[in-house]
């Protein structure tokens, strides 16, 4: 039986810490998005718990798309919903951006550390060879 490749335990702890930070930041971002979508769906669309599933899905998608458009600034939002939600989104946008940038930063740091691990270096060795592509 071959012994495992020795890895600095401090690196493992740091990877885990960055991973947890990235997941926590992602969770915060998701909560904000879901909160906005939920409000828009319940109060600004024809969504109703007693409606049939097709209607509910369509209305839910409309709310989701509008919030996504307002946050990213891309696409065509539903103007009726967007008029009311624009101020909500602009108030939350700094927090959303902070959580997102935090997530990206922590993820990048974790990836940098993982890419230095011997196990990952072996992946890269084969990736560089023409057969591996």
């Amino acid at each position: 039986m071959s012994a495992p490749i020795l890895v600095d335990q401090e690196t493992i702890s740091t990877i885990r810490l960055y991973y947890r930070q990235a997941k926590a930041a992602e969770l915060m971002r998701m909560r904000m998005e879901q909160g906005l979508v939920s409000y828009a769906r319940v109060y600004l669309t024809n969504w109703n718990p007693t409606a049939d599933i097709k209607t509910r899905k369509a209305e839910s998608l409309k709310a989701l798309k509008t919030i996504k458009c307002l946050i990213t600034g891309k696409g065509e939002p539903d103007e009726a919903i967007a008029d009311i939600m624009r101020s909500f989104v602009s108030d939350l946008l700094p927090a959303w951006s902070a959580a997102d940038s935090r997530r990206k930063r922590a993820r990048r740091q974790a990836e940098l550390l993982v890419e230095a691990l011997p196990a990952w270096q072996l992946f890269q060795t084969f990736r560089a060879s023409p057969v591996g592509g």
């Binding site: 071959s2 012994a3 495992p4 490749i5 020795l6 890895v7 600095d8 335990q9 401090e10 690196t11 493992i12 740091t14 990877i15 885990r16 810490l17 960055y18 991973y19 947890r20 930070q21 997941k23 922590a106 993820r107 740091q109 974790a110 990836e111 940098l112 550390l113 993982v114 890419e115 230095a116 691990l117 011997p118 196990a119 990952w120 270096q121 072996l122 992946f123 060795t125 084969f126 990736r127 060879s129 057969v131 591996g132 592509g133």
Partner: protein
Amino acid sequence: MAIVSDIQGFSSWGLSALVGEAGDLGNYPNPAKLHKRLGLAPDDAYPTGEKRKGRMIPRACRGRIFGMIADPLFKHQWRGEKDGVAPHAIGPYGVVYAAAKAKGLASGKTKKHADVLARRIMLKALVLDAWCAWHGRPLRYHKDASQEAEGATISRVMTRPEVSLPPSNPVPSREGRTMGGDQ
């Protein structure tokens, strides 16, 4: 000699998730223990909790691993039906998925149940290969790639990159704390 291959759909973030959830993979003497830690072992393998809490399966961990590793892996290892071409595997883990799904369907499982089960088996195959890589062993499911990479010489000593440590949470000292009744 450790042999590792390129795995389509498994990025460094995927390995970060594995390490983040399970810690040092070198601490697991066999892959079954790693599967169990990640919630991928059969449900019967977990002990029952106290009273009516049910089995102590790390479901949250399993969910994260499925979302972060299994889904991208499936997209890169399996091609669905398109333009009259039947669904087929486009990677070694796709082959594992196909075999497991066929077996599930043959045993009378529904299409969805067979799909979920096959995804889990595919993910377990990947985790097994990651464990093998960590332990310097040939990969089990990437056999062709293993033969190609056999001549590779890799340092078994790690060089740590220049990555700043995250700021630790400040812990208030006992003197600084104010309790409700001390006012």
